[in-house]
């Protein structure tokens, strides 16, 4: 039986176990004078039966499905005659794919050596046996688990505690999945980054001012020696993020102040969701807005006042990205400004301060740590943004501070390095991991700083 069929079957068994245990607990309670004479409510006996039936069975199922393939392959390879044993991992996978092709009927057994055809037969038999055993084992465990739980439905046994304990463990596993995924990503990036630094010296990567990640396919190729200096990419990232923040911080902050201090309830209830809709626009839409509308407009404007501008400019990407992150700044700032106690406002107003004096002298300083936290979060969002820059700022790694030039960013380069068919052992593709690592470190630092500031702020008013 296939795993996909087995899974619903186990769940059905669990539901049946639930129902049976529920009924039994009521039946046990009835002669005692009602369910209040049980240690736990019928629900807990039932839930325990369902959990004991499903969880061990699912664990065994997952383990079996995970190791089945490897074990069968091992047995098949071992069954081959000594003289054709594979010498390397590559050779082994070649032989195995041949065997499984024969087994699947894609390859005529007459065209392959006899030992391959024999192994294909063995593979087929083993798979068949594995399926049968798996189904029997899993269903048996599910039934046994349910039966055990059913037999333990007794008034003096407290099922509540064991259900609580199990639930706690399930929650823990769910939380661990998120953490482990992050750790896994970090490690995979670190691993490839170390490989990259084996080919390109770390000093060249960190301090080189030229980025042109080509590697030679042939030794005599022109321009074959790639340059892996990340400085132009990071200056490009900084330039665009700085422009974005120059747009987003004043606009976001002032609109937050308007919304929290001046707007009437009705205006606020309308405007705030509308502003937050900005955050819901897909970045690719911002990207073509930047590339097709804003960038040509900036070029024409620059030409009108006699400046030279490329048709893809850092300014266009930065402006549009700034609009994109306005909701981050305004929404978070609005929240912290609202969190400033009303008593402080009253205190200032009662001393004869105007609304704007109160804002400037009392509320803003009190909310500042939270506002900075919001700005840093917006900044890390800007640094990580790719789509707008790909479309509006170009791919040329210019080391420039001129916002009218085209620049490129770390994330854009990562995307272009890994798009399409790539070999995964050249310095070119590996450099993407090194860039990713750097980016990760920078945004992590920003987030840590932001969290620290926000936490410090919290302590002040709680």
């Amino acid at each position: 039986m296939q795993t996909a069929n087995l899974l619903p079957l186990v769940l059905v068994l669990a539901v049946v176990a639930y129902g049976l245990a529920f009924m039994r607990s009521r039946a046990v309670a009835a002669p005692l004078g009602g369910i209040r004479n049980l240690k736990a409510l019928p629900f807990y006996y039932a839930a325990r039966a369902a959990l004991w039936s499903a969880i061990p069975a699912l664990v065994v199922l997952a383990a079996w499905a995970g190791f089945e393939g490897k074990v069968i392959q091992g047995i098949v390879i071992a069954s081959l005659p000594q003289d054709v044993w594979p010498e390397s991992a590559g050779q082994a996978s070649l032989i195995l794919s041949q065997i499984s092709n024969v087994a699947a009927g894609k390859l005529n057994p007459d065209f392959v050596p006899e030992h391959i055809a024999g192994a294909a037969g063995l593979l087929e038999t083993l798979r068949e046996q594995s399926r049968t055993f798996k189904a029997i084992l899993v269903l048996l465990i599910a039934v046994l688990g349910a039966a055990f739980a059913w037999s333990r439905v007794a008034p003096h046994i407290n099922a509540r505690e064991s259900v609580e304990r199990t639930l706690r463990r399930i929650f823990f596993v769910c939380a661990a999945v998120a953490v482990l995924t992050t750790v896994g990503i970090v490690f995979s990036v670190i691993f490839e980054t170390v490989r990259f630094f084996g080919r390109v010296p770390i000093t060249e990567f960190l301090f080189g001012t030229s980025w042109s990640p080509q590697t030679a396919l042939r030794a005599d190729q022109v321009g074959s020696d790639g340059a892996f200096g990340m400085i132009p990419l990071f200056t490009g990232t900084l330039l665009i993020s700085a422009i974005a923040l120059l747009v987003a911080v004043p606009v976001g902050l002032l609109s937050a102040i308007y919304l929290s201090e001046y707007a009437t309830k009705r205006v606020r209830a309308t405007v705030k969701p509308l502003m937050e809709m900005l955050a819901g626009v897909p970045t690719v839409v911002y990207g073509f807005f930047a590339a097709l509308t804003v960038a040509p407009f900036i070029r024409d404007l620059a030409e009108m006042i006699g400046l030279e501008a490329s048709s893809q400019s850092a300014l266009a990407a930065g402006l549009v990205m700034g609009v994109m992150i306005i909701p981050f700044v305004s929404s978070l700032s609005d929240d912290v400004i609202n969190a400033v106690p009303q008593t402080l406002r009253d205190g200032s107003l009662a001393l004869g301060a105007t609304q704007s004096e109160t804002m400037k002298n009392v509320i803003f300083p009190a909310a500042l740590p939270g506002i900075i936290g919001g700005i840093l979060l917006a900044a890390s969002r800007a640094i990580g943004e790719t789509m707008i820059v790909v479309m509006a700022a170009g791919l040329a790694a210019n080391l420039t501070a001129n916002p009218l030039d085209s620049v490129t960013t770390v994330t854009v380069q990562i995307a272009t390095l890994l798009v399409g068919d790539q070999e995964f052992d050249s310095a070119k593709t590996l450099s993407a991991f090194a860039l990713g690592m750097m980016l990760f470190v920078v945004t992590l630092l920003l987030n840590v700083i932001a969290l620290k500031i926000v936490r410090k702020y919290r302590e002040q008013y709680d």
């Binding site: 107003l349 009662a350 001393l351 300083p365």
Partner: protein, 298 residues
């Protein structure tokens, strides 16, 4: 005290009928005791008052929180507002420096005069009004700044000091008047939020004094303080009464008895009785006042 000889009897300026259907709670809870709208027993009026308040009504949306109250507050008197929670005493207090303005749905009707100037006149400068009528709140609310900056906040906003030395003097005087100078003179740069609750409240009083107001409104200034801090603040109120007109809202009848010259009893938005404090607490004229101060309800 000039108010003592010049207080006139309350005029019956209301011809509305007793207890209209608007106050079913009062009807059912206190069936035997009637409140006549706009009629206040005792001595609500004074000659040459600081505040002259006539037929004041306050609405929260459709809800009528203050019902036709007329009252004079004499110069340099300490008057306390008492009454059960929700009776409108804080709302009424906040009309005196227009702190209700920040509540969108709040409307104030009637005549409210400070030294013969209409507080709610459309051309009235709220900033100037609040500089003259300071306020101390229920919960100490020092700004998260240094002690010095807290006291200097008002003088800076109103441009009361041209030089740093002037400002220093204002800060020191205000802190001295609030009885806080000796405790904090060595740590004026420390954050105000690190002080004890009683110190914070006295700092808030110093902050209010620093802009040299004529009137100080106090909204339950001691309800968040321990008895020792309360005693200090009460002592301070007695000292300040020589310079300022003080209006204090309190839930503590002992406090009202200790600090105030006159006491006003509020009930469900009505001003029921205003009398000399000793009279209110020894022989109240109105049954409602009596049952409240003897603890029979409220």
């Amino acid at each position: 005290m000039n108010m003592n000889e010049s207080i006139s009897r309350a005029a019956d300026n209301s011809d509305e009928t007793v207890m209209s259907a608007q106050e079913p709670e009062a009807e059912t809870r206190r069936e035997d005791i009637k409140v006549e709208e706009g009629k206040t027993v005792g001595v609500p009026y004074a000659d040459d008052p600081k505040f002259k308040l006539r037929n004041v009504e306050v609405f929260y949306g459709e809800d009528r929180a203050i019902k036709d109250i007329s009252l004079d507050i004499a110069r340099n008197e300490v008057i306390s507002f008492i009454g059960p929670s929700g009776c409108g005493k804080s709302t009424f207090l906040r009309c005196l420096n227009r702190m209700n303005d920040s509540i969108d749905i709040c409307r104030v009707k009637g005549q409210l005069m400070l030294d013969d100037e209409d507080i709610y006149h459309s051309k009235k400068d709220v900033v100037e009004l609040r500089a003259r009528v300071g306020m101390v709140f229920q919960k100490p609310n020092p700004f998260p700044k240094s002690i010095y900056d807290n006291v200097a906040y008002g003088p800076r906003i109103h441009g009361l000091a041209n030089r740093k030395s002037d400002l220093d003097e204002i800060v020191e005087n205000s802190l001295r008047k609030a009885g806080l100078w000796d405790e904090v003179k060595d740590r004026l740069d420390a954050t105000a939020t690190g002080m004890s609750g009683g110190q914070q409240q006295r700092l808030c009083i110093a902050r209010a004094i620093a802009v040299s107001p004529e009137v100080i409104l106090m909204d339950e200034p001691c309800s968040a303080l321990d008895p020792i801090a309360t005693a200090k603040v009460e002592e301070l109120i007695s000292e300040m009464s020589e310079t300022y007109t003080i209006v204090i809202v309190t839930h503590s009848m002992q406090q009202a008895a200790r600090v105030s010259h006159r006491t006003a009893y509020f009930h469900l938005g009505h001003l029921v009785e205003v009398n000399e404090t000793t009279k209110v607490f020894t022989s109240p004229e109105h049954e409602l006042t009596e049952s409240y101060i003897t603890g029979r309800f409220g």
